[in-house]
């Protein structure tokens, strides 16, 4: 079967999967207008290295055009790709990269999950299609890996964990594809960075907690979508998901590249799941092993914060102080430390800590504030890597 046709078939299979809220595939309709944009011209601009010009043209075109563009990729891009067979692999990469970048624009405008209206193709559909296009290039390579990592960071920004990691089910109606990272790992078996993305997606389901501690998903019934209908997931499914998340992270803790972060995330997951002793052990080890300032900050902050929540002020304060050594401009550590200092009765010192966190505006974002978005903060750097692959 010719490769373009295979890609189109994949797109056809993928589209209804991404629209799980609907019991039937949407009726086939023509893509909406995207004037003044033209897909071919955008791709010429992007592939020539004028990346920002192409992306900003899409951003300037407005939200309606931006949404309509999603359905144009599969119609217009194959023509552009086929126009120069000698450049086919690079053109496929350029299409996938620009599609990803335009979805970043949509994410920033809150459009990721818009599925109303039937004919619209949301962000997941575009990324599914783009990933299939990349596979058309041939054997897996660094460019494809760069795209996969950037796509994971993008979806992490909207915390779409189920899109990134899920078991596939081809017999379901509509069929359920494996998660984006599950598919990436078929192409890059054992790749530690992609395995970490898969594990972060699995654990991300349990990362939102309630004031005072404990995962929301661990205390409330979990909703799942089955054939488009919301149902309460059985406790066994929830337990399996928890165990799977723990196992995926545990398998990475000794990796020389991603091990410290995996251990840190495992510690937080254990805490969210009420495994306090295991949490403390993993976080302590992560704090000891971390060379990166942000990872050391996060490990110390989490040790201090979880001690705060269990009312152990004496344990909490040294860890929060250590966190502030790693990241002096972190307000999350400062505000927790100031509260405990005032609670201890040292109002003057508490005032100093609090005031400095208000006076000194951080030059970059507090790692804790971004912790729940996995590697979304790295998206600009990952997209820069991807651009180098498109136009070195």
């Amino acid at each position: 079967m010719p490769r373009p046709r295979l890609a189109l078939l994949l797109l056809a299979a993928v589209t209804p999967v991404s629209l799980l809220a609907q019991k039937r595939p949407p009726p086939k309709v023509e893509p909406g207008p995207i004037a003044p944009l033209e897909v071919a011209r955008l791709l010429d601009t992007y592939s020539s290295g004028r990346f920002d010009d192409a992306v900003q043209a899409v951003a300037r075109a407005g939200d309606t055009v931006g949404r309509n563009l999603r359905a144009h990729w599969s119609v217009d891009a194959p023509v552009w790709i086929g126009a120069d067979p000698t450049e086919r692999p690079r053109r496929l990469l350029a299409v996938a990269a620009l599609a990803l970048e335009t979805e970043w624009v949509r994410v920033e405008r809150g459009d990721w999950g818009v599925t109303t209206g039937g004919a619209r193709c949301p962000g997941t559909c575009v990324l599914d299609w783009a990933q299939a296009e990349l596979i058309e290039r041939g054997p897996a390579d660094a460019a494809e890996r760069a795209w996969d990592l950037a796509a994971a960071a993008l979806a992490s920004g909207v915390r779409d964990w189920r899109y990134l990691q899920r078991a596939g089910n081809p017999r379901a109606q509509p069929p359920v594809l494996p998660g984006l990272m599950d598919r990436a790992l078929v192409r890059f078996p054992g790749d530690p960075a992609l395995r970490l993305e898969q594990a972060l997606a699995a654990s991300g389901r349990f990362s939102v907690t309630i004031d005072g501690g404990r995962s929301v998903n661990d205390t409330l019934p979990s909703m799942a979508m089955v054939n488009g209908a919301g149902v309460t997931a059985p406790q066994t499914a929830l337990r399996t998901a928890r165990e799977s998340a723990v196992n995926l992270l545990e398998a990475l803790v000794d990796d020389p590249v991603v091990g410290v972060e995996a251990r840190l995330r495992l510690g937080y997951l254990h805490w969210a799941l009420s495994n306090d002793a295991a949490a403390q052990a993993e976080l302590t080890r992560a704090a000891h092993d971390a060379k990166d300032a942000d990872l050391r900050f996060l490990a110390e902050f989490l040790l201090g914060w979880t001690a705060t929540l269990r009312g152990d002020r004496d344990d909490a304060m040294p860890h929060l102080e250590a966190a502030l050594v790693a990241r002096p401009d972190s307000q999350s550590a400062a505000v927790a430390l100031a509260a405990l200092t005032l609670q201890r009765g040292d109002a003057a010192r508490a005032y100093e800590i609090a005031q400095s966190s208000l006076d000194e505006r951080p030059t970059d974002s507090d790692p804790w504030r971004l912790f729940l978005y996995a590697h979304h903060p790295r998206l600009p750097a990952l997209v820069a890597d991807l651009r180098k692959q498109v136009h070195p």
Partner: protein
């Protein structure tokens, strides 16, 4: 010492250091302390402030033990005002109105008062640092979605240490639904008992917010009783929650602030040196005004002794 004050108030400013020198024989169990406790007290009958009260009109107990107090009207005392505007999702539709109201509020203050504005971004921000009354400001207000660091912001406000001779009023305009604060509600409540500030909350939500920001998430989310605990924290300082349905329906921030500020300026500061009670631990305070029938009293509910 007496000071000249607006005609309708008579304020006695007494020496701040009050001797606690009751004979040791009368209170053998406890050490006398020279540390002064300040208690902000608002006294109203209906919606009207009761003015011209003197020290002898107040009956104050500290952990159930009657104390000797003196009253000073706050009218004469410079005020540090912290305004906290919650610019997260639900209040995001009112940014222009907020900017205008901040300037109006600055015009309400007296020359000796100071003002600052805290807002929320991905962190708690100082949108306007401490400035004298009347300063022209153009605060940078941004809408943030999902994250709503109310407890962190209130914590950073409560910890402010006003200079001697000044009082600290915090007015928080928020829907009180926290999202993402590091400081748990329980700790905020504790800290409120250690702050000299008076915290008022105004129930202020602006509708459905900005749909563009719906994708954001935060953790931790508010506990089910989180709003009630934040309200308790305000009451612990002598402030209260002002619901839109009562005072501020349809009112601007500036109007709501003016009502709170006017009441605060006409409230009293009671100072006393605790005697007959152990210094450490929580000191529950009760304040009554026996001479005023049907008095509605808002006072700091207690403090932590060292």
């Amino acid at each position: 010492m007496s000071v000249r004050l607006p005609a309708r108030f008579v304020v006695i400013v007494a020496a701040l250091m009050v001797s606690a020198a009751l004979p040791n024989a009368q209170q053998p169990a406890f050490r006398a302390t020279t540390s002064l406790v300040s208690v902000s007290v608002s006294v109203k009958r209906g919606n009207n402030v009761v003015a011209n009260l003197a020290a002898r009109d107040f009956a104050l107990t500290d952990n159930g033990v009657a104390q000797t107090v003196e009253a000073v009207s706050i009218e004469s005392v410079p005020i540090d005002v912290t305004l906290f505007l919650d610019t997260s999702g639900s209040t995001s539709g009112k940014l222009d109105e907020m900017r205008h109201d901040v300037q109006s509020i600055l015009q309400l203050l007296r020359p000796s008062d100071r003002f600052r504005l805290l807002t929320i971004g991905d962190t708690v921000n100082t949108a306007v640092p401490w400035v004298p009354a009347g300063t022209m400001v153009n605060p940078s207000l941004e809408v943030v979605g999902g994250i709503s660091l109310i407890q962190d912001a209130l914590m950073l406000a409560l910890v402010h240490k006003a200079e001697p001779g000044r009082r600290h009023l915090i007015v928080g305009m928020t829907d009180r639904e926290d999202c993402g604060s590091v400081v748990p509600a329980s700790l905020l409540l504790n800290v409120a008992g250690r702050s000299d500030a008076v915290l008022h909350l105004v129930d202020y939500s602006g509708g459905d917010g900005d749909a563009r920001y719906r994708v954001r998430a935060c953790s931790p989310r508010a506990r089910p009783d989180g709003e009630a605990i934040i309200t308790q924290a305000a009451e612990r300082t002598g402030g209260e929650l002002h619901k839109q349905s009562r005072l501020f329906r349809g009112a601007s921030i500036a109007r709501a602030f003016k009502t709170i500020f006017d009441d605060f300026r006409q409230s009293y500061v009671l100072r006393y040196s605790p005697h007959g009670v152990p210094p450490a631990g929580w000191h529950a305070i009760t304040v009554q005004v026996p001479s005023v029938r049907d008095a509605i009293i808002h006072a700091r509910q207690g403090y932590y002794g060292g």
